[in-house]
C-alpha cells in the first residue's frame, strides 16, 4: 500500500511537470514543423512570459489567472514584432544562420532581463485556493500539481480540437505537410506563420508562468532548459500536438522518477535514450514519415 502511494505520488509529480513541459514546448514543435526555423530562442519567450506574469502580480497586484492571460497576450504581441522584423527573413536561410540568430537573440534576452530586473531567481505567490494539499480519496497531494494536470489536459483537448477541427488548424497541418502545395491552394502562409508563431510564444509564456514552481525563473532560464525543450520536441515529432503531449509526459515522469531514485545519473539516461530514439526514428516517436 505504501508502495502504491509512492508510485502514485511519483506519477502525479512527473505528470504535472510534464504538463509544464508540454505547454512550453508545443509552440516550438508547431513553429519548427511549420516554418522550418530552428528556434533556439523559444525558451526566451517562456522566460519573458514568466517575468511579465510574476511582475504583474507583484507590482500591480493582479490576480494569478488574469496575469496568466495578460502574460499570454503581451508575449504573443512581442513575438509578432520579432517574427515580422527578423524571423520572416530567416525562413529561407540555412540552418546555421537560424541557429546563430536565435542564439544571439537568447543572449540579448538574457542580458536585457539581467540589466532591467536583475540576475536573481524570481518566485511567484500562488493564490490561496491553489496552495496546500488536496484530498484525492486515497491520498493527499499538492493542489497546484492537480491544477496543472487539469490545465494541461484542457489545453491538449483545446489544441487538438483547434488543430483537427478548425479551418485554421487544417491550414496549419496542410502547410506542415507540404508548404508549396498549401501556398498554391491560396493559403496565406505568411499570415499563418505570424499567427502560429504568436500563439506558440503565448503558450510558452503560459508555461513559463505556470512552471515557476518547477523550473524556477531567472535570466539563465532559456539556456538552462534549451536542451530539455528541444528533446521534448524531437521525441514528440515536429508539428505534432499530441506527439509533444505524450513526449512531455514521458520525459516529465522519467525525469521526476530518475531524480528521485538515481539523483546522480538521471540526466545521462535521458540523453542516452534520446540519442537511441533519434537514431531509430529521426522523425520522433510520434512524428509521421520524415519529410
Amino acid at each position: 500500500m505504501i508502495f502504491g502511494v509512492d508510485v502514485a505520488s511519483m506519477l502525479l509529480g512527473g505528470v504535472s511537470a510534464g504538463m509544464v513541459l508540454f505547454i512550453v514546448s508545443v509552440g516550438l514543435s508547431v513553429t519548427m514543423g511549420l516554418m522550418g526555423v530552428v528556434n533556439l530562442a523559444h525558451g526566451g519567450f517562456a522566460m519573458i512570459g514568466g517575468y511579465v506574469i510574476v511582475l504583474l502580480m507583484r507590482q500591480w497586484g493582479i490576480g494569478f489567472l488574469p496575469a496568466l492571460a495578460l502574460g499570454f497576450i503581451i508575449t504573443a504581441l512581442v513575438s509578432v514584432v520579432f517574427e515580422r522584423l527578423f524571423y520572416s527573413r530567416l525562413y529561407r536561410s540555412s540552418e546555421l544562420d537560424q541557429v546563430l540568430f536565435t542564439i544571439g537573440l537568447v543572449f540579448v534576452m538574457i542580458a536585457s532581463v539581467t540589466l532591467r530586473i536583475g540576475p536573481e531567481n524570481q518566485s511567484l505567490t500562488l493564490p490561496s485556493a491553489l496552495q496546500g494539499q488536496l484530498d484525492l480519496g486515497f491520498m493527499h497531494y499538492r493542489t497546484y500539481s492537480i491544477f496543472l494536470i487539469g490545465v494541461g489536459v484542457l489545453m491538449v483537448i483545446g489544441l487538438w480540437f483547434g488543430f483537427e477541427r478548425t479551418r485554421m488548424g487544417a491550414q496549419i497541418r496542410a502547410a506542415v505537410d507540404n508548404r508549396r502545395m498549401a501556398e498554391s491552394l491560396g493559403i496565406n502562409i505568411s499570415r499563418l506563420f505570424t499567427i502560429t508563431f504568436a500563439f506558440g510564444s503565448g503558450m510558452a509564456a503560459l508555461g513559463g508562468g505556470l512552471g515557476v514552481e518547477f523550473l524556477g525563473l531567472d535570466p539563465q532560464y532559456p539556456l538552462k532548459y534549451l536542451v530539455l525543450f528541444l528533446i521534448v520536441v524531437a521525441v514528440g515529432g515536429l508539428g505534432r500536438v499530441t506527439g509533444v503531449f505524450y513526449a512531455a509526459l514521458i520525459i516529465g515522469v522519467l525525469d521526476f522518477a530518475l531524480k528521485q531514485y538515481l539523483p546522480q545519473g538521471g540526466t545521462v539516461f535521458i540523453y542516452a535514450l534520446t540519442i537511441l530514439l533519434l537514431l531509430w526514428r529521426p522523425q520522433g516517436l510520434f512524428g509521421g514519415k520524415a519529410g
Binding site: L96, V99, L115, Y271, L278, L279
Partner: protein, 338 residues
C-alpha cells in the same frame, strides 16, 4: 583542329587548383605577428596562449562546419575528450610527457569522432543538431558522474606536466614555454588543415557541402568522406583540448559544455567560416574584446555578442573576412569604373 594533349598537371583545371593553393606573401603575417606578440607583450603570454588554442579549436570546427557543412552544436565534446585524456593520464601518473600526451588526446578524440560520426552522420538537419547536442550533454554528465575518476564538478587540478622535451619547464606564471609550444602545435595543425582542404579530399568535402545529391551522383563516397572529416576535425579539437589542459595544468567540466561549444561557433562565424583564416581573425577579435570587456561588463558583453550574432546571421554571413572581401571588391570596382 585537335587540341594538343596536355599532361594532367598542365590541364587548366589542375593549374587553377594549384593556383588556389599557392602560398601568398601575406600568409606569413599571422606567424610574424605571433612572434612579435611574444617579444612585445611578455606579460600577456597567458592570454596569447589561450588565443592560440582557440584558433586551433576554431580551425577544427571550420573543417567540419565550414568545409563539410556539418552543422554541429556539440564540438566541445571533442575538446573535452582531449582535455580529460591529458588530465586523467597526468593526474593518475599514467602518462605525462606533453607531446605524446597530445597525440593520445588526438587519438581519443578521433576515436570518439569516428564512432559518433559513423552513427550520427546518417541524419541531417535538426536531428543531427539534436544528436550532437545530446552526445555532448551525455559526455558532460558522465564526466560529472564519474567524480572519483574525473573530479566531477571541480575537475582535476595541479596536473603534473613535466618539462617539454625534458628541457623547457612549464610554468603557468611565466608562460613563455606554453606560448611557443602552443604556437608550434597550431602551426603544425594549420599546415595540416591547409594541405587537407586544398587536396582532392578537401575539394570533395566542399562538393558535399554545396550539393550532396550531385556528389552521390558522381560516385563520391559521401558518407565515408563526412565521417573521416568529422574524425579528423575531432582529433584536432582533441589536440586543442589537450593543449588547454596542459597549459592550465587543470581540467574541469567547463571544457565540454554548451558554453564552450557556442563560444567557438561564435568565434568561427565572427571571423568567417569555410575560409582558412576565419578562425584566426574571429579568435583574435572575439578573445581580445572578451578579455577586456567580458570581465568588466559581463552583461553588456553578452548583450553585445547577442546583437552581433543577430547582425551576422541576417546581414554578414561571411563574418569579418566576408565584409572585408566585399569592401575591397567595392573599392576595386569603383577604381576601375571611371
Amino acid at each position: 583542329m585537335s587540341a594538343p594533349t596536355l599532361a594532367s598537371t598542365e590541364h587548366p583545371a589542375a593549374l587553377a587548383l594549384a593556383r588556389r593553393s599557392r602560398l601568398r606573401p601575406w600568409e606569413a603575417l599571422p606567424w610574424v605577428l605571433a612572434i612579435a606578440f611574444y617579444f612585445v607583450f611578455p606579460r600577456y603570454l597567458g592570454f596569447g596562449t589561450d588565443l592560440l588554442i582557440s584558433i586551433l579549436f576554431a580551425l577544427s570546427l571550420d573543417l567540419a562546419l565550414g568545409y563539410a557543412g556539418i552543422v554541429t552544436l556539440g564540438h566541445a565534446a571533442f575538446f573535452g575528450a582531449g582535455a580529460y585524456t591529458v588530465g586523467m593520464l597526468a593526474k593518475y601518473g599514467i602518462w605525462t610527457e606533453p607531446v605524446t600526451s597530445l597525440a593520445l588526446a588526438a587519438g581519443m578524440a578521433a576515436l570518439l569522432g569516428l564512432a559518433s560520426g559513423w552513427v550520427l552522420l546518417r541524419t541531417t538537419g535538426l536531428t543531427l543538431l539534436m544528436l550532437t547536442l545530446c552526445t555532448m550533454g551525455l559526455l558532460e554528465e558522465l564526466a560529472n558522474m564519474g567524480a572519483q575518476y574525473t573530479g566531477g564538478y571541480d575537475g582535476l587540478d595541479n596536473l603534473p606536466i613535466p618539462p617539454l622535451f625534458g628541457l623547457f619547464e612549464f610554468n603557468p606564471l611565466y608562460p613563455k614555454t606554453q606560448f611557443l609550444y602552443s604556437l608550434g602545435v597550431l602551426f603544425l595543425g594549420f599546415v595540416f588543415v591547409r594541405t587537407l582542404v586544398y587536396s582532392p579530399f578537401g575539394q570533395s568535402l566542399t562538393g558535399i557541402r554545396e550539393n550532396m545529391l550531385r556528389m552521390h551522383a558522381v560516385g563520391a563516397p559521401v558518407r565515408r568522406r563526412l565521417v573521416s572529416c568529422y574524425a579528423i576535425s575531432a582529433a584536432i579539437a582533441g589536440i586543442a583540448g589537450g593543449l588547454w589542459a596542459q597549459t592550465n595544468a587543470y581540467v574541469n567540466l567547463s571544457a565540454l559544455g554548451l558554453d564552450r561549444a557556442a563560444t567557438i561557433l561564435i568565434v568561427l562565424v565572427l571571423g568567417g567560416y569555410g575560409r582558412l583564416y576565419g578562425a584566426f581573425v574571429g579568435a583574435v577579435a572575439y578573445m581580445t574584446l572578451s578579455h577586456f570587456l567580458a570581465k568588466a561588463y559581463p552583461t553588456a558583453w553578452q548583450l553585445g555578442v547577442g546583437l552581433l550574432l543577430m547582425v551576422i546571421a541576417l546581414f554578414a554571413r561571411n563574418g569579418i573576412i566576408g565584409v572585408w572581401d566585399g569592401l575591397t571588391r567595392l573599392i576595386r570596382a569603383k577604381r576601375t569604373s571611371p
